[in-house]
């Protein structure tokens, strides 16, 4: 009965449907930024980085610290947004070089245990460094309000995300398909032994990819920080969603991540309106359907799964 009561108002109210679509797309864009790094890391190194959510969390916390120490000027937010992901990239690089390198040739179970262990270690470090209190980052003045869209209020900050995320996607496409480094990355996802045999330093490539993936996670966290509470537990919240998006899109396919992130974002937006009681399940139902029909994800490759 409630589902129907909810349905009627928004069906007749076209502007609210449009706002719902825009919100869903914004959510999808956040999801894309979080997931694409994880997908990329897996595609090249075959590591499922469970600590990806932790990197996202560190990005958000770094944002809190940076915004806190910088003077209250309009440019402070943007500077922090640039620097915070770099901090996470550094963390990723250190982890890759000291820990992950030792286990590439080992049982995949070892990587899961290691990256899971990282979740616990990073989580405790965050508690020790920042304390237990909830933190917050405020939206920059210029983006704190709303714009009028279809006669309704739409948060200006979401407009930033709707512009920035596709920019990141396009830049990534240009890097992968128009640069030599990108070509090496694509080659590594297809056949890394051959790449090594051709004289490419695959180990260095792995580090670079991991650093880049960590940077993306940090960027996602820093960008998301003003829209959520920066608190302990945000690592696990985001990890489940990122994992689902990556699996649906296909591990290793970044176009797959983009499409599936949009699908998941829209599904979450509308699922709540149509089937409020089972909206949680809808996401996993979609994942189950995709895995049954195409076990390697929408745009993944069969030999990967």
């Amino acid at each position: 009965m409630h589902a129907i009561a909810n349905l009627f108002p928004w069906i007749t109210n076209g502007s609210l449907i449009m706002i719902q679509v825009m919100s869903g797309l914004a959510v999808g864009m956040f999801l894309f930024l979080v997931s694409v790094g994880m997908s990329l890391i897996f595609g090249v190194t075959r590591i499922v980085n469970l600590a990806h959510g932790s990197f996202y969390m560190v990005g958000a916390y770094l944002m809190v610290t940076l915004v806190g120490i910088l003077p209250e000027r309009p440019w402070a937010f943007w500077l922090a947004l640039c620097v915070a992901p770099l901090g996470v990239a550094l963390l990723g690089g250190v982890i890759e070089m000291t820990l992950l390198r030792r286990i590439y040739h080992r049982d995949p179970l070892m990587q899961l245990i290691l990256t899971f262990g990282l979740i616990l270690v990073i989580g405790t470090l965050v508690l020790l460094l920042w304390g237990p209190d909830n933190k917050s980052v405020q939206r920059p003045e210029s983006l704190a309000g709303s714009v009028r869209l279809f006669g309704q209020f739409f948060p200006s900050y979401y407009v930033l995300v709707l512009v920035l995320a596709p920019l990141v996607a396009v830049s990534m496409w240009l890097v992968f398909y128009r640069t030599r480094w990108g070509m090496l990355i694509r080659a590594a996802t297809v056949d890394r032994e051959m790449l090594g045999a051709l004289g490419v330093n695959v180990a260095a490539l792995y580090t670079q990819v991991f650093v880049f993936g960590s940077w993306l996670a940090g960027l996602a966290g820093a960008l998301a920080a003003p829209t959520v509470a920066v608190a302990l537990g945000m690592d696990s919240d985001v990890l489940t969603n990122a994992f689902v998006v990556v699996v649906i899109g296909g591990l290793g396919s970044f176009a797959g991540s983009f499409i599936s992130a949009i699908m998941v974002g829209l599904l979450q937006s509308f699922g709540i309106l149509i089937f409020p009681a089972i909206s949680i399940v809808l996401l996993f139902a979609l994942m189950a359907v995709v895995l049954i029909v195409r076990p390697w994800g929408l745009l993944g490759r069969p030999e990967d799964h």
């Binding site: 108002p9 237990p132 309000g145 948060p155 829209t227 302990l232 945000m234």
Partner: protein, 408 residues
Amino acid sequence: MSLAGVALIAGGSAAPAAAQGKPIRIGEINSYSGLATVYTFPYKEGLLMAAKEINDAGGVLGRPIEFVFRDDKLKPDEAVKAARELVGQEKVDFLAGCISSGVGLAISAYAKDAKTLYFATHCQTSRLTWDDGHRYVAHTTNNVNQYVRALAKKASTFPYAKWAHISPDYEYGHNVWDEFIAYLKQLKPDVQVTQQNWPKLGETDHSAYITSLLQSGSDAFLSSVWGAQEIAFVKQARPFGLFDKVRYFSASVGNPDELDPLGKEAPIGAITPGFAWYDEGMQQRHPKLSEWVKKYEAQAKKEPTLGASWGYASAYIIAEAIKRAKSTDTDKVIGALDEGYEMQFPWGKVIMRGCDHQAIPPQWVGKVKMNAQGKPVLAEVEEHHGQELIRSCEEVAKIRLTAAGQKK
């Protein structure tokens, strides 16, 4: 004359000697890692502050009280494991603690089997002493029923008839909404429910619920979303203009762990309960409050939270029960609880009710406002005592009977 002398009721000597002798040991199980720490760290400060005062003033029956801490990691089975160890190996005299209602209920079930007395401290579910109540459990802080009814009572004074809500889809969320709407309808019969929203616990994106609420045609809505989720909800709802269209009532946004991080983004005008120790009216009604706050800040290096007051009160309530029993024998202490007693704290009177071992403190409901320093605080705080609001002993007996019948 120390504050301890004021707070202790049982007759002590005029010049208290430090407590001596074998300590009375209380196993305290709580969540000291992860996201609950924002609540449990201040709670522990309050607990230890009270324990020190009690011991400096001569202890309980001349013996010092000592808390033995364990981390339950927010998991009921970890908590029960810790309880077993505390009772079996550490041989503690009593059990205490909880923040998660699920954990509290699990420890309570264990305590019933092990015939050990358990004082539930920070968790809130009414089930502890009502549906799942028994003689081996006591609740030293208020339960959901009391503070939700205080909020509903305030809500009934507004002309809002069309109500929606957004509550996390688990025991606590359902408990809060059920208690709120039942009491509100009792006080204001023209209230109708326009929409129900049940996001999952820990949801990070609420935009769909926000848009839903915007076109629900409601006058007001209740939110029992809490902690980090509440912060995210408020941050997301503001630029959609939700709080300008639908009046916001929250079960928790008055707490500093949510209000402080929100800062300039705080929902001004929201009606919510909270421990507004800084409020002028509060300090006038409770002259000893600012002294207590100063002492707490000197120890904890932070401002107190509601949880800090609960930790403090819990230690004293436990000590009082033992004092009145004149023994640490479980059955005698239960006897003291059965008789019930009252204690005075810097924030008012707390009743330990005999029929269900449920603590009844004062309740405060206020409105979120920006103070002169540009920080969001709770203002226009109204106080009612929980005893005006809480379900009667007869109602509790009926609840226990129904629950027992359902278990068969």
